[in-house]
Amino acid sequence: MKYVAWILICLLVVLHQCTFPWQSEELYLGFIPGVLGYHLVISLATAGAWILVVKFAWPADLDPPSPGEGDS
């Protein structure tokens, strides 16, 4: 799953670079131009992909052992 999450992030970068929606004349919901809608979906999908990365690819042992101060 860890690799799937990272593959998703890479895929989103590739999809971001795709030029096929650039000339779309469609209007989503009657007011969102096609290319803007496409990139809005990319933004939302990015958040979804980061949920997977954070859940399955979060590095272990990041918190230093008992610093003795600061945490409140």
Binding site: W22, Q23, F31, L36, H39, S43, V54, P59, D61, G70
Partner: protein
């Protein structure tokens, strides 16, 4: 007078925020500079977002969309959603972990120890300060212009002075805790007010027949008058140029003020919320602004004249003009507060960061930490912050031309330094000489391309059909790798501080 009253009320609220934060202060240098590593996920999300989004997110995005259409969202926003979170995850979380363990406060401190070089840290300090100052000027000049534009009675210089005084006061009394609180408050303000302005504008463009009807009517008007603004293509949008823009948001990985914000986190897990939600926040702010800017190209007044003159030179005025023409003074005042919120939520972190770096990396480094008490350290940081604010404000009075176009060049410089921070975290073979080579190549190539673009900078300047940042990034990476492979890496003792056992294989590969 109504907009001015709203702006003043807003500035007073910010001062109260700083005062309140001061009550929770632990009166130590660590608390002043890093809020004692006590910042939780929501506050970290809001302060990181507020810091990375400058006034450009509101007024710049609207202005650029007026010029280039909806493609601006793809060019600058959806890419930032992916790349900023990537920086937080791959760089921020690791920096926090190492910084917390080794007790760092600034980027310079981190690199000094990682590369076993005091001089490299000093050179990096100079480069970082030079890259941050234009960024500060953009905020100060932009804030003054907004206050003048909306109130019409407060001159630019006084507006800039008001902003400097307010930011200085709450940073001065609240330190990092006050900055984080004020950032969070301001982020909420500029997100909410941006949305309100969007809905009011949509409603007015639809002739008052409701928001939904307004949204549809406004876009249809663009479809009829300027259909090219609803699509992407040459001459502005070309594949290589578009691809090179992906490197601009990477600069966040080397912003010294973001570095300091990362270190304020309570735990590594605190980063999870900002990593996930940051792209959504970007969409919430940018989509409405991009639509308003695009609508402005085709919106007409009752007499059939364009609402915004098509030949408008200062495109940053598009949003304030749309609000002023389509709503009353109350919304104009609120929008001004929202724009100022975006300006100040970046300025405060930058002021605090420069004060911290000067105190920590220059004064304490030269004279020795043992010579200063915590109170003196805080006092020094405050004095340097005042000095920086005064100098930047005085420069702003000279109104340097083309300063707003310098933003992209600041980001370019920071992106050129990104290979350095990535290699320092993930590559054991990074050497001091490799770091010097990367830094000097970045500075040298930056100066070359900047001189080629002319001054004020030509934003259409490209090299090999791409933004110069692509070449600078490639040259910097090559110099770092080649020179590092030819020279001796830091001692095992130093590397052990950055690549703890158990992770060595993964981190050093």
């Amino acid at each position: 007078m109504t907009p001015l009253a709203i702006i003043i009320g807003y500035l007073v609220l910010l001062l109260l925020c700083g005062t309140l934060a001061n009550r929770f202060s632990r009166r130590t240098a660590k608390d002043y500079m890093l809020a004692s590593h006590s910042i939780g996920p929501v506050l970290l999300l809001l302060s990181l977002f507020g810091t990375t989004m400058t006034a450009f997110a509101l007024v710049g995005s609207t202005g650029k969309s007026f010029q280039w259409g909806v493609g601006v969202y793809a060019l600058m926003a959806s890419s930032s959603g992916i790349i900023h979170s990537l920086c937080f995850f791959l760089v921020g979380v690791k920096i926090w972990s190492i910084g917390r363990k080794n007790g760092y406060t600034t980027q310079v401190e981190y690199f000094r120890q990682r590369l076993e070089s005091r001089n490299f840290g000093t050179l990096l300090f100079v480069v970082l300060v030079l890259l941050v100052i234009p960024y500060l000027l953009i905020g100060i000049l932009g804030g003054g212009a907004v206050i003048h534009g909306i109130t019409d009675i407060v001159p630019d210089w006084l507006g800039s002075l008001m902003i400097c005084a307010v930011v200085l006061t709450y940073v001065f009394i609240g330190g990092m805790r006050g900055t984080a609180w004020a950032n969070a408050f301001q982020t909420v303000i500029f997100m909410v007010l941006g949305l309100v302005a969007f809905l009011v504008i949509a409603n007015e463009l639809g002739g008052g027949e409701g928001i939904w009807a307004g949204l549809v009517a406004a876009t249809r008007q663009v479809q009829e008058a300027h259909p090219e603004k609803l699509t992407m293509g040459p001459p502005v949008f070309k594949s290589l140029f578009f691809m090179s823009y992906l490197l601009i948001p990477l600069s966040a990985a080397m912003f010294p003020h973001i570095f300091q914000h990362w270190l304020t986190a309570r735990s590594a897990g605190t980063f999870k919320l900002p990593i996930i939600v940051h792209p959504i926040f970007i969409a919430i702010v940018w989509v409405p602004c991009v639509l308003v800017g695009t609508w402005a190209t085709s919106a007409l007044m009752a007499n059939g004249e364009p609402l915004i003159p098509p030949d408008l030179k200062s495109v940053n005025l598009v949003l304030p003009m749309m609000v002023a023409k389509l709503s009353g003074p109350v919304l104009s005042g609120l929008l001004a507060a929202g724009i100022l919120a975006a300006v100040m939520s970046s300025l405060d972190s930058q002021f605090l960061c420069l004060g911290t770096m000067f105190t920590n990396d220059i004064v304490l480094e030269i004279k020795g930490r043992e010579h200063y008490s915590d109170r003196q350290v805080v006092l020094l940081a405050r004095l340097f912050i005042i000095g920086i604010v005064v100098v930047t404000y005085l420069i702003s009075l000279m109104k340097p031309p083309g300063i707003f176009d310098l933003a992209i060049w600041c980001f370019t410089g920071f992106t050129g330094l990104v290979p350095l921070v990535v290699a320092s975290l993930y590559w054991k073979k990074l050497t001091r000489a490799g770091a010097y080579a990367s830094l000097l190549v970045t500075v040298g190539s930056w100066i070359y391309f900047f001189s080629m673009a002319g001054y004020p900078p030509d934003l259409k300047y490209k090299f090999l059909e791409m933004l110069p940042v692509a070449t600078i990034f490639l040259l910097s990476t090559t110099a770092l790798v080649v020179v590092s492979l030819l020279t001796r890496p830091p001692s095992d003792q130093t590397l052990a501080l950055f690549f703890p056992s158990g992770k060595d294989k993964r981190a050093g590969s």
